[in-house]
């Protein structure tokens, strides 16, 4: 199966200031798993831009994204019916297992966890979804189990990190999965480790090839006491939180 696809934009919406939801269908992409990502060709840019899958149904991929620079600007200007070229599926997947799972998302990092939550619930796994945002206006609508905002304008006040111990205490997860900015991920992984709870983190790095060949997106892992390189694009984006050299 070839991994380059031409899709059609089925829907695109600004769901919050600078945050968009786009849905595109492609007859050639039949399956994509939670944790895997797509990489979108943006007019005028050299590198495709990677985005996690927030949902997938009937050959239609949903991506939630935040406008940052030229690539996301380009995508935000697409209209229903426009063509969109992308590579998929790329990367590895979250492990889908029937465990009591705590999902920790911050900001746009909630996106891949939406799809993961759905898949976990499909196999009957119990989940608790805690999400942190800067402010009320940044909240991405979803049926979260816990919400915090840095400025306290909605939900609990403060960083999601401030509530992690408390949530773990109450929900008693068998597993933690997180997607968030680097400092949050690091905190979550270290907290999980302290509690000896297995933890999967979805990492980000600037990417060029997306398939592990250019070595542009490596991070360090320690495995069996040895440090080694791993590519976020192919070996990741999902890593065992314990193995990442933070």
């Amino acid at each position: 199966m070839k991994k380059n696809h031409i899709g059609t934009v089925e829907n695109i919406q600004e769901i919050n200031k600078n945050v968009y939801s786009i849905e595109f269908s492609s007859p050639t992409l039949e399956k994509i798993s939670a944790g895997e990502y797509v990489s979108i060709l943006c007019d005028g840019l050299t590198l495709r831009r990677p985005f996690s899958v927030a949902n997938f149904e009937n050959n239609t991929t949903t991506v939630l994204f935040k406008k940052r620079g030229g690539g996301t600007e380009y995508i935000s200007n697409l209209k229903i019916g426009d063509k969109i070229e992308f590579s998929a599926p790329l990367g590895n997947t979250f492990t889908i297992e029937n465990k009591k799972t705590l999902l920790i998302g911050a900001g746009i990092g909630v996106a891949p966890l939406f799809y993961l939550e759905k898949k976990l619930n499909e196999i009957g796994a119990e989940t608790f979804f805690a999400a942190g945002f800067l402010s009320e206006s940044d909240i991405i609508e979803h049926d979260f189990d816990f919400v915090s905002t840095d400025d306290g304008s909605n939900g609990n006040k403060g960083s999601i990190c401030d509530y992690l111990e408390q949530i773990i205490e109450e929900f008693k997860p068998e597993k933690i999965v997180s997607c968030a900015p680097h400092p949050v991920l690091k905190f979550v992984a270290q907290t999980a480790q302290k509690h000896k709870i297995p933890c999967e983190v979805a990492m980000e790095k600037v990417m060029a090839c997306g398939i592990g060949v250019c070595r542009g997106c490596v991070i360090s892992l320690k495995k069996d006491g040895k440090t080694q390189n791993a590519t976020v694009c192919k070996d990741g984006p999902v890593f065992n939180g314990e193995e990442v050299v933070w």
Partner: protein, 305 residues
């Protein structure tokens, strides 16, 4: 029927579309996007004697019309190449060129000998990588050192010897001439152009700076590559393989017009992972429609234009 094939010394290529070192992996990694064994050849990632982990920190930076990389020659090393990558190349029937890089003349000699022993049909000497601190870059900018290096590699390697040149030099002509005199079978050019990317974020009254200093590649450098090849093609007779920002059939023909016999596609593989196969098809179609029966025909006609 059109014949796209060419020969560089005894090295046969089905067509002149080659993928460039560092942008295509070691063997069939692009199979999900491209029929890799249809390519003229794949140039492997630069291989050193020992495995290398490459550089710390950010390695990639997108710039206008291109990108900067400072991978720092991360690679599995020659032994793992022979053990794990070479069998796949052979099994998949992929024509390839082994790109090698060293810190010392001895490194290059050892690598050339290993290539010879394993009957590798073509090697490309990376004497121009700007991303490793000491070592190979020095050869690429000094004509005497380059002449000596290529001469001794030549003595230790009988098959097709290609030397890849750096554009970061005062005189392209001097280096190309040195390489030819030393007995190389072909020259490939250009490697990346020295460049730097800077990103400044102004947050809470302070600046946060990210910089990536390394090699610039992509469309932005095409004019630099055209100029480089135009100049060296006037002073050497051995075949030239053009590299630098090539994305379209028009680009390929432009490089033919300044004297190139074949081309390598680098950064464009990231933008369009199916580009190499597409270019072969486009070239074939163009020749078919316009009654060019061989590559040589086409190249002669373009060069006379």
């Amino acid at each position: 029927m059109v014949d796209l094939s060419l020969k560089i010394k005894d090295f046969d290529l089905k067509n002149p579309i080659i993928t460039a070192s560092g942008t295509y992996g070691y063997n069939n990694e692009f199979d999900d996007f491209c029929e890799v064994n249809k390519l003229g050849a794949v140039v492997t990632k630069g291989i050193t004697l020992e495995p290398r982990l490459g550089n710390e920190g950010e390695r990639i930076f997108e710039t206008y019309g291109g990108m900067i990389n400072r991978i720092g020659l991360e690679n599995v090393g020659i032994q793992a190449f022979l053990d794990e990558k070479l069998p796949v190349l052979q099994k998949c029937n992929i024509n390839f060129i082994l790109n090698i890089a060293g810190n010392t003349v001895e490194d290059y000699i050892k690598l050339a000998k290993i290539a010879q022993e394993n009957d590798i049909k073509a090697i490309e000497l990376n004497v121009s990588c700007p991303n490793v601190k000491c070592g190979c870059i020095e050869f690429g900018v000094n004509k005497q050192a380059l002449y000596e290096l290529v001469s001794i590699v030549r003595k230790n390697y009988d098959n097709c010897l290609i030397v890849k040149l750096s554009p970061n030099v005062t005189s392209a002509e001097d280096l190309a001439t040195a390489v030819q005199s030393a007995g190389a079978d072909a020259v490939s050019a250009i490697n990346t152009v020295r460049g730097m990317g800077v990103k400044l974020d102004f947050i809470n009254g302070g600046f946060k700076k990210t910089t990536v200093s390394g090699g610039l590649s992509g469309k932005a450098i095409k004019p630099v590559a055209l100029s480089f090849i135009d100049r060296i093609s006037k002073v050497i007779d051995i075949p030239i393989i053009a590299i630098g920002g090539i994305c379209t059939l028009a680009d390929v023909l432009e490089f033919f017009s300044v004297g190139a016999k074949a081309v390598q596609i680098g950064t464009a593989n990231f933008t369009h992972p199916d580009i190499a196969e597409k270019l072969i098809n486009d070239l074939e179609k163009f020749m078919l429609e316009n009654n060019f029966s061989t590559l040589d025909d086409l190249q002669k006609k373009i060069q006379k234009s």
